[in-house]
Assembly symmetry: C2
Homo-oligomer: 259 residues x 2
């Protein structure tokens, strides 16, 4: 390991994507301003048009730019105000917290090993009889208990998990120690009445409801290894998404959503 900055992108399209994203965030292309044409970008970055289109497509799926057929590509980037906790891609809680400029903390509430029963199978998507770790954790942001997490992790995918590890980052353990490759996560956002556990563990003020992200996460070999319900204090919760209209002339060559 050298002293280079972390996460050197290997792929060309990714480094171009990051370059352009940085430029947009730095204000070089405020909302409404046209970017250079694809052909110019090809020369600038010394690559083919396909590669440029891939990077631009990723920016479009992030809601940073928009392109129109005969005209060009322009920025529609609006910096967000960051008063709430913005939920992003698949990332460990600590990373998400720092991305939002908050100091993360974790309080372990419960840790046990259980077998998935019929009712739990129906809700989680794990087959009945699966052996899983059941973990309850309170997540702190700048010291305040704002998120109540309930995790089910498949034991066969992450053997050897302990309460001590669960108090830190399960993902760090799974990816670095166990070689687990996390790929896809399907998430549902809903809101529910606050449970007594929510009220007990979270600093809910006088709110009596929570925002809930229920997610099923898959590893590279296609097995679902995690089911999580994250219960958020509503005034500190924000989920952002960008959608496209498929039937319109614009059909962005968008790529994977990049956090």
């Amino acid at each position: 390991m050298g002293t280079e900055t972390n996460k050197m992108p290997k792929a060309k399209y990714e480094s171009i994507y990051r370059d352009l994203k940085d430029q947009i965030e730095a204000g070089e292309y405020p909302s409404g301003k046209l970017l250079p044409s694809e052909n110019v970008l090809c020369e600038t970055f010394g690559c083919s048009r396909n590669t440029i289109r891939r990077a631009v497509g990723m920016l479009a799926s992030d809601g940073y730019v928009q392109s129109q057929h005969g005209k060009g590509i322009w920025s529609i980037y609006e910096p967000s105000d960051q008063t709430t906790f913005v939920v992003g891609g698949i990332e460990p809680f600590a990373e998400a917290a720092r991305r939002n400029g908050r100091e993360p903390g974790t309080r372990l509430i419960d840790f046990k090993e259980i077998t998935v029963d019929k009712e739990m199978s129906k809700r989680s998507g794990f087959p009945e009889g699966s052996e899983v770790y059941y973990i309850e954790r309170v997540r702190l942001l700048d010291g305040k208990p704002l998120i109540f997490d309930i995790n089910l992790f498949l034991k066969s995918a992450i053997p050897g998990l302990t309460p001590e590890l669960a108090a830190g980052s399960v993902y760090a353990y799974a990816e670095n120690e166990k070689g687990l490759k996390v790929t896809t996560s399907r998430r549902k956002i809903t809101a529910e009445r606050a449970s007594s556990k929510d009220k007990h563990n979270l600093d809910l003020k006088d709110y009596d409801f929570v925002c809930v992200i229920s997610s099923q996460t898959y590893s590279a070999d296609g097995t679902m290894f995690e089911y999580t319900r994250s219960r958020h204090r509503p005034d500190c919760f924000c989920f952002i998404d960008t959608a496209f209209r498929p039937d319109s002339g614009n059909r962005n060559t968008a790529l994977v959503k990049q956090a």
Copy 2:
């Protein structure tokens, strides 16, 4: 116009995408089952590998499939149970309702023409002084008032809007009559305490909070023409999303999110 089914896809990648999606939804590839290899799919559909990869990428961004480097592409599709109203892409309310198997209805509450002031500018993203239509509507599903919509539409983008039109589909008018091309929408999902208007207009039962989708929508020429806040009854609301882990080996060539 002939008798052909609506929305004949012009692009090859799109018709392949739909074919595969239909097959997966029909149960030909239950979760865990491997799809044919890209080269086989090339022969099946009579196209190049790039085109196949594009269609597969769209399926991945829909959370239907997942691919791994030397192995293949398999289904991770789990049919949803459809007890709630699932929010999808950019689509008129009536379409979304029918996609969820519900009968849509609209009740116009308010319609006026206003000028955006400072406070409203800050929240909506419209420049101060913009001339907009202000519309309040209650959306019915199977006759039940479940969604309270507040729209701001830019007058210059959709001139000639009337209460009568607003009682139907503004999008149909804007796209078909005015030639507006809708492309991108940025959305935030939050939850808020129910306002007195919510309680008055919606059938909230004993819920005292609502799920809110705030969206800014852009036309093909890059102007933001719509700001909307959709306030949903929480027990009938569900927002679904698929996320990817960028640093993992798998980097899906995913395309635009397709409803």
